[in-house]
């Protein structure tokens, strides 16, 4: 893979995302994976990204863009992918560039309300790329908890009280859910590591069927962190094993793309974010240890999966 500069700026500036927004940062990096002879139709679910980039009568998008509803990004992408295929077959597609379909949705639009549409699209095998930018809550409507909100994080619907210090449940395993559909490509990524992220989008675009990327998305407003810390936090998520970077091919082969043999203490990640401020209190030590154990257990399980499946050969489209 070569990134030839300068890249077209497919997401125009002037959008209304907060200072230091992880979502627009992710989108810029994602779209850098498109080659000059390619373009994409972008479909978004409702959420911050859609709202801040399409305040009527303006748009930030320099690619064809569709927004329908909160729950149906994957269903809309399925229809567009099919329509493009039919137009091409009938010789009615004027566009000379190779057209991809990229659906982008938040964690609410993916883990919760859009999960059914997503599962259907993955099962039907549409050739499209689904990107979930995971800021771990419903940010656009005021920081409500979602199935992606981590253990003990503060949100407006998981307040920190005397009895319950933040969200009592752990995060869903989205990559695992997608991989259970045995689609060609599933990966996690972080905007703190742009080369790894762009390479994974490239693989997702090359894959012969559905591909899903689950991308951790620091959000200064909802995570209560300084806007300048977005990239640092996106890196610490990986370095503490809170958000390991890996790939799953055809639901079978596991690859850790950024091994973390010596993780940093999870507190290094938590302490930069106001939503975890209560975890810095001495009486919360047990809760931090519980979270740290959970992320390390998951990482060790990933290592075992990668080791156990290392003999499965890589498909040709994987090499970018």
């Amino acid at each position: 893979m070569s990134i030839s500069l300068p890249k077209p700026e497919y997401l125009a500036p002037g959008h209304a995302a907060c200072q230091g927004c992880g979502a627009t940062l992710i989108v810029r990096q994602v779209l850098m994976a498109l080659e000059p002879d390619e373009a994409a139709v972008i479909v978004t679910a409702t959420g911050c990204l859609e709202v801040v980039t399409t305040i009527y009568p303006r748009t930030s998008w320099r690619l064809p863009f569709v927004h329908l509803a909160f729950e149906n990004a994957a269903a809309a992408a399925s229809g567009i992918e099919t329509a493009l295929k039919v137009l091409k077959r009938k010789g009615l597609l004027k566009e000379k560039k190779k057209m991809h379909v990229i659906a982008i949705a938040g964690d609410g639009g993916t883990f919760d309300i859009g999960l059914q549409a997503l599962s259907g699209a993955l099962e039907r095998g549409h050739k499209f790329v689904y990107i979930c930018y995971d800021n771990e809550a419903y940010m656009n409507t005021g920081i409500q908890r979602s199935g992606a909100t981590p253990y003990r994080a503060w949100t407006t619907t998981t307040p920190v009280g005397k009895k319950i210090p933040g969200k009592p449940q752990f995060k869903k395993n989205l990559a695992g859910i997608a991989a259970a559909h045995e689609i060609p490509y599933v990966a996690t990524a972080s905007p703190g590591y742009h080369v790894d992220l762009i390479r994974k989008v490239r693989r997702a675009l090359n894959a012969p069927g559905p591909a899903l990327l689950h991308i951790i998305c620091p959000c200064p407003t909802g995570w209560r962190h300084d806007p300048s810390k977005t990239v640092e936090i996106a890196r610490l998520a990986v370095q503490t094993r809170f958000f390991p970077l890996y790939e799953i091919l055809y639901g079978r082969k596991y690859i850790i793309t950024m091994p973390v043999p010596k993780p940093l203490p999870i507190i290094d990640y938590l302490k930069l974010q106001g939503r975890y401020a209560h975890l810095l209190r001495p009486e919360m030590k047990g809760e931090v240890e519980k979270l740290e154990k959970a992320v390390n257990d998951f990482y060790k399980w990933l290592e075992r999966m990668a080791e156990a499946t290392k003999d499965i050969p890589l498909p040709s489209w994987y090499h970018v």
Binding site: A12, H15, A17, R58, T59, S228, V231
Partner: protein
């Protein structure tokens, strides 16, 4: 896009025909600190360009090589991510006073 359309003229389905039209919105107004590049220190590695959420770092490229890196102050929101990302500390945030 200089004038808002009346309701009779709004395209059906709220289609927006002008791509990238937020470009005219001056988000540079949001800033209190602005990033300033020391061009003597800058190695033109391009790293800051990949990490700006607002596409406000512009590269001048000649024969595949970056020859100049600049900030688009019309759009830059002053988040200071670029200051933190620069490996040679060529970017400093400076308070803007009028």
């Amino acid at each position: 896009m200089s004038k808002l359309l009346g309701w009779r003229k709004i395209p059906i389905g709220t289609i927006i025909l002008e791509a990238g039209s937020t470009f005219e919105v001056r988000t540079g107004d949001w800033r209190t600190f602005k990033p300033v590049i020391d061009h003597n220190k800058c190695t033109r590695c391009g790293l800051c360009y990949y990490y700006c959420p607002d596409g406000s770092i512009t590269l001048e490229v000649k024969d595949g090589k970056i020859v100049k890196v600049d900030i688009d102050y019309y759009h830059c929101k002053g988040c200071a991510i670029c200051e933190g990302i620069c490996p040679v500390k060529a970017i400093t945030m400076v308070e803007e006073v009028k």
